[in-house]
């Protein structure tokens, strides 16, 4: 079921992101060598700005170029923009990268090399269910149809491995997934370990993981092929350099990237074999 986005909300979100990124916009106007940066809106716009604004400032300092955070109100909006090649640089989930690589030739520069990405399936702790096999015909919440770990990979495995049909219920965010499960509005929910760990104890302690999907390389920071190789190299180096300083690490942890390292398209080719496009919704 495709999540419907109210147009007014989208406009307001875009306006907010636009205002928050005012400094970057001004910089673009002053210098032609300004590059747009897109970030998948897995958090609200304000949080994204708080995370990425210091990183982009650090990039500008290191490379001498200007970077503008170009906001998108929803993940689907982001995907459209991304697939249309509107961002010079972008941070997105691996499946988005595969699609955009196919469409626009986006190249992954760096990624978190410490942890692999996988999806999880949670139910309430008091629920005696221990296997996804019992979920056939049940209402299961997911953040969004195309969320890689929490939605695409969980749904692919439920279908391919456990052969169950569920009623997906898209509730926008990981936190909403966990709340829906805790409150019993859905019997189970798809998420990732990292966001589960970030939940308050009151929520986290009421949940138990009954399934973990296969691992994939986590979110990459990619560049559009139109950006000069020199600048791409400068940006890649600057990001890798950031991972070598405490200050840089602190900034990157919030993305979250816990250990930055070089990434390549080859890291994501195993994902193609899963056939996620069966579950992907335009």
């Amino acid at each position: 079921m495709k999540h419907t986005q109210h147009p007014m909300v989208a406009m307001l979100s875009a306006l907010l992101l636009y205002l928050l990124s005012g400094a970057v916009v001004e910089a673009q106007e002053a210098d032609q060598e300004t590059f747009s940066v897109g970030v998948i809106p897995q958090f609200d716009a304000q949080k994204i700005y708080e995370i990425w604004s210091p990183i982009l400032k650090q990039l500008e300092k290191a490379t001498g170029h200007h970077f503008r955070l170009q906001g998108t109100p929803t993940i689907s909006e982001f995907e459209k923009e991304f697939n249309a090649g509107r961002f010079d640089f972008a941070y997105m989930n691996p499946y988005n990268l595969l699609l955009a690589n196919r469409e626009q030739g986006y190249i992954p520069l760096v990624r978190d090399v410490e942890k692999q990405l996988h999806g999880i399936l949670v139910v309430k702790k008091e629920n005696p269910m221990n296997s996804p096999a019992a979920l056939n015909g049940k209402k299961v919440s997911f953040p969004a149809p195309n969320a890689l770990g929490a939605s695409l990979m969980v749904r692919a495995d439920l279908h391919d491995i456990f052969n169950v049909d569920i009623e997906p219920h898209y509730v926008r965010t990981h936190s909403s997934v966990f709340l829906n499960v805790v409150l019993g509005l859905t019997i189970a929910g798809g998420g990732v370990q990292k966001t589960l760990n970030q939940q308050p104890a009151a929520i986290r302690n009421q949940l138990k993981v009954i399934y973990r999907t296969r691992d994939v390389a986590p979110h990459p920071f990619a560049a559009h092929p139109r950006v000069p190789q020199k600048i791409i190299a400068q940006v890649k180096n600057a990001l890798l350099e950031m991972g070598r300083t405490e200050h840089g690490k602190t900034m990157l942890n919030k993305v979250p990237v816990y250990s930055i390292g070089p990434g390549s398209i080859a890291d994501y080719t195993p994902l193609n074999k899963i056939g996620l496009e069966r579950f992907y919704k335009e």
Partner: protein, 595 residues
């Protein structure tokens, strides 16, 4: 309560009233308004939250709901106790924990969510505004305290100001009034401005000046009075006559040293005692008993007259006393001053003189009568024809012996009258008849002088109570005097007038009149208008004195009017006695010629 308290009382009442209004009305009203205002704010806030909650609720975005409500709860934690969201099935979506039981101080607002025609859920907000209301209450209390302090400050300022502009001047006035009451009239208070206090102070100063002026006038009057008193008392204490002051109850109030000398009493012994103390007891029941009555009734026969009474000294001695009583009208009562003169010596001397005169007169009259009788016999030819050469000498001897006899008779009369040895036998006299008699008796004498006697009556038929012989003596004296001093061929007129109270008989001559310098001593003894060459024969110089004594003994009065060159009118008045019918018969004047 002092002036300050009374002046501050309105401020105190004002404050109490103000505090009551603030505390019980305004304060309560503010609390209600505050509560209503808070509830309205919260409803607006819930209304603001409604769209995002509706959208999230429909999309299953519970995280947004939780974040929104968490943030809002955190933002409004001062007021919000808890907020809960229920879906349309009544399931609690927020918070995850169970709701805490409601405190009685908490207020719960239930806000149903609405989206188009759906009611996706309900927000229940519990707020606690006790602290805010408490703060509001504290503000009111602070305001009350501030007001109290303001009123206290106002009261203090007012008290200081009132003290300055009212109380101090009034206290000054009070102190000044006390000093004034103690006799310091020189005090003058400073004042400035034109307010009531200043006007009062100015009036007080004016009053002080008036009192000072009055005091000075009084002191001057007292000084003068004391001077006069000293002078008067010095005079009084040094005159020989004793002066006694008595009140209307005849109580002695003052007693001079001379009076002490006369009566033998010290002043202190008689002050406050009745005047009768000084009168012999045996006389107190008699005429002198009347004295007290006469004094108290201001009797004109006593007051202003000099009377002779008998006094009694402390040692019991009774002595003749001349007493002159005058009244002194004071503000609301009378005092009477009695001037007492011891006339023992004078009486004694008079008595010796009278005895001497009486003796001498009797001793003279007896031989003189014989001489006169002998001369009459000789001149009458009883002893034969008197030789012509002796006739003139014998006539001269006879005339002078008669004159001497007349003089001696008058002297004896005078002596008898003064000594009180003459007896009066009063009885009713019909006046017209009496006058006719008098005219007849003196007609012969008048003829000698070729003078007519006319009687002009203008009276009713009335009677007087008198001794006819003595009154005839008066008439003869007056007529003989008038005849003697009338020119020949003139008349002596006798007028009888009745003025209802008394009969006035007036004997008028048409002679030369009485010289001015002689009028004052007319009634003195042995006095004539001219003691030398114009002396008329047949006069002794005692006639008028005797007449005056007789008339006064009848309770009447004697007097004269004279005009130089026109004549003299001698008159006397005797109190009238009404006739038996008690009525007066009117008669026209009629002229009767006695000739």
């Amino acid at each position: 309560m002092g002036l300050r308290g009374k002046l501050l009382l309105p401020i105190l009442f004002g404050f109490v009233g103000f505090a009551i209004v603030i505390h019980f009305y305004w304060g309560e009203s503010l609390q209600r308004d505050k509560r209503a205002s808070i509830l309205a704010q919260e409803k607006v806030l819930l209304k603001t939250l409604e769209p995002i909650i509706n959208r999230s609720l429909l999309g299953g975005d519970l995280a947004t709901i939780h974040n929104t409500l968490n943030n809002t709860l955190e933002t409004h934690k001062d007021r919000w106790v808890q907020v809960a969201l229920f879906n349309n099935e009544g399931q609690q979506l927020y918070p995850l924990s169970e709701l805490t039981p409601l405190d009685q101080n908490n207020i719960t607002l239930t806000h149903p969510l609405s989206l188009n025609d759906d009611a996706p859920g309900t927000i229940k907000l519990t707020i606690n505004i006790t602290d805010e209301l408490q703060i509001e209450k504290q503000h009111i209390v602070d305001f009350e305290i501030f007001t109290l302090m303001l009123f206290a400050a106002l009261g203090l300022i007012s008290a200081i100001w009132q003290n300055f502009v009212i109380r101090r001047p009034v206290l000054r006035l009070e102190e000044a009034a006390t000093e004034l009451a103690e006799g310091d009239y020189t005090i003058q208070l400073p004042y400035d401005g034109n307010d009531e206090i200043s006007n009062l102070t100015a009036a007080f100063n004016t009053m002080g000046e008036s009192l000072l002026s009055s005091k000075q006038s009084l002191q001057e009057a007292v000084r003068i009075a004391r001077t006069n008193e000293v002078r008067t008392s010095t005079v009084l204490n040094n005159i020989a006559d004793g002066i006694i002051t008595i009140n209307e109850s005849a109580i002695i109030e003052s007693f001079t040293p001379a009076a002490s000398d006369i009566f033998g009493y010290e002043e202190a012994e008689v002050i406050g005692k009745n005047i009768m103390t000084l009168i012999p007891k045996e006389l107190q029941q008699g005429d002198l008993k009347e004295l007290e009555h006469y004094i108290s009734t201001h009797n004109p026969f006593i007051i202003g007259k000099r009377i002779e009474v008998e006094g009694q000294r402390k040692n019991g001695e009774i002595f003749p006393l001349e007493l002159s009583i005058n009244e002194m009208p004071l503000d609301d009562h009378y005092l009477f001053s009695g001037i007492a003169r011891d006339i023992t010596e004078r009486k004694h001397t008079a008595k010796l003189k009278d005895e001497f005169v009486s003796t001498v007169s009797h001793e003279l009259r007896t031989p003189l009568t014989s001489i006169n009788g002998a001369l009459r016999l000789i001149n009458g030819g009883a002893l034969g024809e008197v030789p012509d050469q002796l006739k003139e000498m014998l006539s001269l001897a006879s005339t002078n012996s008669e004159r001497l006899l007349l003089l001696i008779n008058d002297i004896l009369d005078m002596q008898k009258i003064e000594a009180g040895n003459i007896d009066f036998n009063p009885h009713a006299i019909e006046v017209s008849h009496f006058i006719q008699q008098a005219a007849e008796i003196n007609r012969g004498y008048a003829d000698q002088y070729n003078v007519r006697i006319n009687i002009i009556e203008n009276s009713l038929k009335c009677h007087i109570d008198a001794d006819p012989d003595r009154l005839m003596q008066v008439m003869c004296n007056l007529l003989s005097n008038a005849i003697k001093f009338s020119p020949p061929d003139s008349s002596v007129d006798i007028h009888i007038q009745n003025n209802n109270a008394a009969i006035r008989i007036c004997v008028t001559d048409h002679g030369a009149g009485i010289p001015q310098d002689f009028q004052e001593k007319l009634y003195d003894k042995f006095t004539q208008a001219d003691s030398s060459n114009t002396r008329k024969p047949g006069s002794t110089g005692l006639g008028l004195s005797i007449s005056k004594a007789i008339i006064e003994r009848h309770g009447g009065e004697i007097g004269f009017t004279t005009e130089d060159g026109v004549g003299t009118c001698f008159w006397f008045e005797i109190p009238i006695e009404e006739d038996e019918f008690g009525e007066n018969e009117a008669e026209l004047p009629r002229k009767v010629s006695a000739r």
